[in-house]
């Protein structure tokens, strides 16, 4: 399954809940959730710990817009909107953690 998160993990527990609940699969960080995959943020450790179970993708246009595209952590992968579409198509279901 594809899990889509749009909130910063520093102000909302959506990402943490997702990582604690879902059995695994793809996680796509969009909008304010992209901060989760930047070097030095307080959630970085938790995201890294989840990388064994989840494949972490980050929507590049959102990270670029926020001036943080040079800080993507190792192990996370950039996708553009076309990649976003491919992720949705490749997974049988997708869940937006709103």
């Amino acid at each position: 399954m594809l899990h889509i998160i749009n909130r910063s993990p520093l102000s909302d527990i959506a990402l943490e809940s997702c990582l604690n609940t879902a059995v695994g699969g793809d996680v796509l960080l969009i909008e304010d959730a992209v901060y989760a995959a930047t070097a030095g943020n307080a959630f970085e450790g938790k995201l890294r710990a989840a990388m064994g179970r989840f494949k972490i993708s980050v929507l590049r246009p959102d990270l670029e817009a926020r001036g943080m595209a040079d800080r993507l952590i190792e192990g996370a992968t950039f996708v553009d909107y076309a990649g976003f579409v491919e992720l949705v198509a490749a997974n049988k279901t997708c869940q937006s953690w709103l």
Partner: protein, 119 residues
């Protein structure tokens, strides 16, 4: 592949409608079909033709209208949510139509994928 999209937030306040639009655009460019976009909660405000953003900003409402015209995307606004928020036939932008929640359920049953954008 046939996509259904749900938009739960209005334009400009949140990024949800922008993200949904960019996703829909990329899906169409990728050769997929965006069968229907269902606007729910404050998302119904995306259908107001009274919207007038500053000239140097994107026009979210017109963008949806144009997509509907060019790619036959069915833009459906939830009637109950719309009535609560003052979206009526009188102020409905071109390309949008008002209908019931059954259209959302249908999005789930008929589409290969249903993806929600909200907050």
């Amino acid at each position: 592949m046939k996509f259904g999209i749900v938009v739960n937030e209005g334009p400009y306040q949140r990024q949800a409608s922008d993200s949904a639009y960019q996703f829909a655009k990329a899906a169409i460019e990728g050769g997929h079909e965006v069968w229907r976009v269902f606007f729910y909660h404050d998302g119904v405000n995306n259908a107001s033709k009274l919207t007038e953003p500053p000239q140097d900003d994107r026009n979210i409402v017109n963008r949806w209208t144009k997509m509907a015209e060019e790619h036959k995307v069915d833009l459906v606004v939830c009637v109950a949510a719309a009535m609560r928020r003052g979206i009526r036939e009188e102020n409905l932008a071109a390309g949008f139509r008002i209908s019931g929640l059954g259209q959302l359920v249908e999005c789930g049953t008929k589409c290969d994928r249903l993806i929600t954008f909200g907050d």
